[in-house]
Amino acid sequence: MKSQAALKINSTPPKVLTVAVAGNPNSGKSTLINAIAGTRLQVGNWAGVTVEKKEALVEYRGRQIRLVDLPGTYSLSPYTQEEIIARDYLIQARPDVIINVVDATNLERNLYLTVQLLELGIPVVAAVNIYDEAEQKGYRIDTGLIGQTLGIKAVPTVATRKSGLDELLDAVLEVGDDPAAHRPRQLNYGTDIEAAAGRVEQRLRELRPTAADNYPAKWLALKLMEGDRDVLGELDLPDHGAFREVLEHLKRAHGEDLEALMADARYAQAAGLTREVLKKPEVSRVELTEKIDRIALNRFLGIPIFLAAMWLVFKLTFDVSSPFSDWLDKTINGPGKRLIEALMGLVHAPDWLVSLATDGVVGGTGFVLIFVPVIFAMMFFLTFLEASGYMARAAFVMDRAMHAMGLHGKSFIPMLLGFGCNVPAIYATRTLENPRDKALTALLIPLMSCGARLPVYVVFVGAFFAAYSGTVIWSLYVMGLVMAVLMGILFKKTIFRGEYPLFIMELPPYRLPGMRSLMIHTWEKGKHFLIKAGTYIFAVSVLTWFLLNLPWGVESKRDSYMGQMGAVVAPALQPLGFGTWEAAASLITGIIAKEIVVGTMGEIYIPKAKDEPQEEPPSLGQDLKEIVVSFGSAAKEAAENIISFGSGKFSTEEKEKSKPLKSLLHKSLTPLSAYAFMAFVLLYMPCMVVAVAMRHEFGSWKWFGVTFAYQMTLAWLVALIIYQGGKLLGLG
């Protein structure tokens, strides 16, 4: 980016230009913003909604430009969340300039949005993007003529190669500094519509004299003719009845449906302009996308290819990230804690403070950090799927099956990721545009048996069902899936009754995403997780430490607040076959992460051996060496995991450790109650990191509240049916 410029000496410092970036989905808008702003991009959410908001302050030729990325939209209608956000921003914030990213390979549909942007009266600079691909197709586009016809600036760009960006920003500065000279041309929609719009404008001036202070008058008139419910609401009009007589003539000539008439008129503008500025070659070749889709969407091959692609994504996400998570875990809990202990020893800190610092603070930090690799990996592959164009195909292939549960084709990927870890799965729901689809998917994700539940099953199955361990574990995964289907249907008919989300989705051409853009995207999302979710997770970890260790000096965990809570809860678990305070307390600690259920049981059941030989802790030097060496082996393992085909390993060490626990479990549980317990672990509330992820992704605790309530009920009922039903059948 050039930052040098001959600065003229002005009496007032040049103002920061606010530039909104609007465009169709798949127009390369994100890539363009990434190319301009790089790592200065800040990712957040639009106020009150779950739609992602990206902003950046960039410097260009000594000037500051604030870029605001609007959600990708095809139109500015008042129906989808994205469109409402985009138009509210444009209308209320009145940016100085709009950059309209236009896909050069699909001019007509993209210009339909351009036409609507012109109506707002804000200076527009069109980035005619993906220009290289259009040229390869033999398209000749006269960008000069686009600019001239519309009274805007139009610049060819190739965001993936950072080409045309300086010209684009130069145009932005030029029109931003002299907006009066760059008002876009108001297109003529034909005699009838123009005349009617004029009459509506006049009538509106009588009805609401101040309305035009806040909005462009012609835009208001056009929106009122369409019967735009948001504009009507804003003007405090019940419907467009007030304009009935002025619209009478138009309706007589063109029929009742003025909304359709307006869409036709705007498309006619876009089509007319496209004919003028675009020359296509006589013969068009069979496109690469067409060739790929003949195989990828084939009747017989479509589903196997889809499943193979999903297996690959799952494997890459978890296998590549897990060695790094393990490394972070080991480093923080080993050398990290030892370092803090040593430092605190130097200042003779009291025991409880050392414990708070190491187990609470360092442990909590470590707990946040181990999620970082998997979140980054998931964001990377999800972005890749979306940017490459395969995500839309995946939704196309799976929609029928997912729709039966009231979900969208795109819900499959978050659900699948849920088997690895529910946390990235919750974040992956951002790929769903419709808030209803997104919420329903997130509600069902915790029923996917995540990797953290497996260690619990392994211990219990080892203790009670050693002969058919595989079948029993498999049955739990299936139980989760069956419950997801049933709950999906239940929610479809209750909470989400009457809402019928649409499935009208573009299948964009396949494109190879740029590595730089992918990396920036992944980094921004990951950073956002670390800061926003990390704070909550950390706070909850520290709180849990307090619950487990207070009142200070408790000898047995039973006397800690956590143990006391377990004793209170235990009677409720009596009908399920595991109404002991030990089981209850283990389940409560499972809120932190489900695998902790086993750890807590171990701690509670097996009294600490006091005279265990203490190993000499390694020195700081050894620690540092070990950190570096183990990072190397983590990287090696990640690389090997990509190549190797097997997935998921059991450590024999784990099994050895849990041996004494197994025999103790036999004293308080039977195979029947053990199975009920496992079902309960599968179904009861998700861990607190999932809670934080839901809060973070949806902006409120509402959906987590629903999840908590239904899962607790479901877990209790299912465990009850298993235990009491089993007893009736004489299995207990």
Binding site: Y79, E108, D293, D399, H403, M505
Partner: protein, 75 residues
């Protein structure tokens, strides 16, 4: 004839869009307008949704949504 009944490879000219409200507006915003020629490209492996070409790009929609779009069959 409605759009959901066209076979892959068949084209049709849209004569009427029976849908209402958001669905109709969404279809129109995507270029599915009366008078437009659309071609059914593929049916998903599980039988729904379908893929069509409209305004030189590919669009997928569920059969239930396509049923409201009336077409006259062209070749």
């Amino acid at each position: 004839m409605n759009l959901a009944k066209l076979q892959p490879g068949q084209s049709g000219r849209i004569t009427q869009i029976g849908a209402l409200g958001p669905l109709k507006r969404r279809l129109m915003d995507m270029g599915v307008l009366v008078g437009e020629v659309v071609k059914v490209e593929k049916v998903a492996p599980l039988g729904d949704p379908i893929e069509i070409t409209v305004k030189a790009y590919k669009l997928s929609l569920r059969k239930r949504e396509a049923e409201g779009i009336l077409v006259e069959v062209l070749a």
